[in-house]
Symmetry: C2
Subunit: 144 residues, 2 copies
Amino acid sequence: MDSINSMILKCLQENARMSNSEIGRRVGMSSPAVSERIKKMEDAEVIEGYKTFVSPFKSGYQLKALITLRAFMGMLKPFLEKVKTYDEVVNCYRITGNENIVMEVVLKNQEHLESFIDQLITYGETKTQIVLSHVVKHSEIKPV
Amino acid sequence: MDSINSMILKCLQENARMSNSEIGRRVGMSSPAVSERIKKMEDAEVIEGYKTFVSPFKSGYQLKALITLRAFMGMLKPFLEKVKTYDEVVNCYRITGNENIVMEVVLKNQEHLESFIDQLITYGETKTQIVLSHVVKHSEIKPV
DNA sequence: GGTGAAAGCATCTGGTG
DNA sequence: CACCAGATGCTTTCACC
C-alpha cells in the first residue's frame, strides 16, 4: 500500500467505472501497471467490490428508515440469517449494547413500513427512526 | 423503467465495472443499446454513481461505530456542514426524533474514538455503539 | 514496471422497424 | 424513438524486455 495505490483507490472510489487507462493518466503509469495493482488489491480484499448506487426514491421507495432491534432471547441468530433475505434492508449492523441490530431500510410508504415492522416483532422489540436526509453518502475511505 | 433496465441495474449493482458488452450479452442486447440506456438512467438520476468498496479494516481502521447525536439548540445546522469534512464519517443520516443524527464512522482504535467523540461534544450529546459486524452491506435496490 | 501486438470494447454513424 | 450493424479509435490483455 504505497501512495500510488492510494491514488488509484481515490479514483475508483470516486467513480468505479473509470477506465484503467484514465487512472493511469492521473497517476502517471501505464494501464497494464494499473490493472495489475488493482488485481492485487482485489486479491488482498483491500477492494471489496464495485457497486452502483441506485436512487431508492426513483425506484419507488418513498421512505427510508433506521430500525433498531432488540432481539428476544435466542432470536438473534435466526434473525441474522433472516435479515439477508429482506429486500427492504440495504444495510444491517450488529452492535454492542442492549439493542443488538441497526438496519437501514427502504420502504414504499407508511403501510409498507407497518407491515415490515410486523414481520420483525417475532424477533424482538423495534425502534423506528425515519430518515429525513442522507447527509453523507458512503464517503471514501482514506488510508491511515 | 422496463424489465430490461431492471436487469441492467441488477448487473451494475452486482459489479459496477461490468462492461457494457457483457451486460448486453446477459440482457440480450447490443452494447450501444445498453450504453444508451445507462446514459439515460444516469441523466434521470436513477443511477446516482459508481463506488468502490474499500475495506476499512485493511486500510488501518480497526473499529467501526454508530454514533448518535442529539444536537444542542442551534447546533444542528452548523453540524450538518461540519460533518461533511470528517474523514471518519462514512455515512450520516438526519433522522426524526429526539436524536437528530446517526453516523457510521471508522476509527483507528479506542484512542481515535475518544478524540473523535471529543470533537462532537461542542455540537451535542452523543451515544456510541460499536459495530460488531456489518451483516448486510449495501444490498441491491430492487425496483418496485 | 514498460512496450507492442492482438483481441476486445466503446462510441459514432447510418439505416431499419 | 429504440434498436442494430458496421467502422473507427481506445482499452485491455498477454507476451516479452
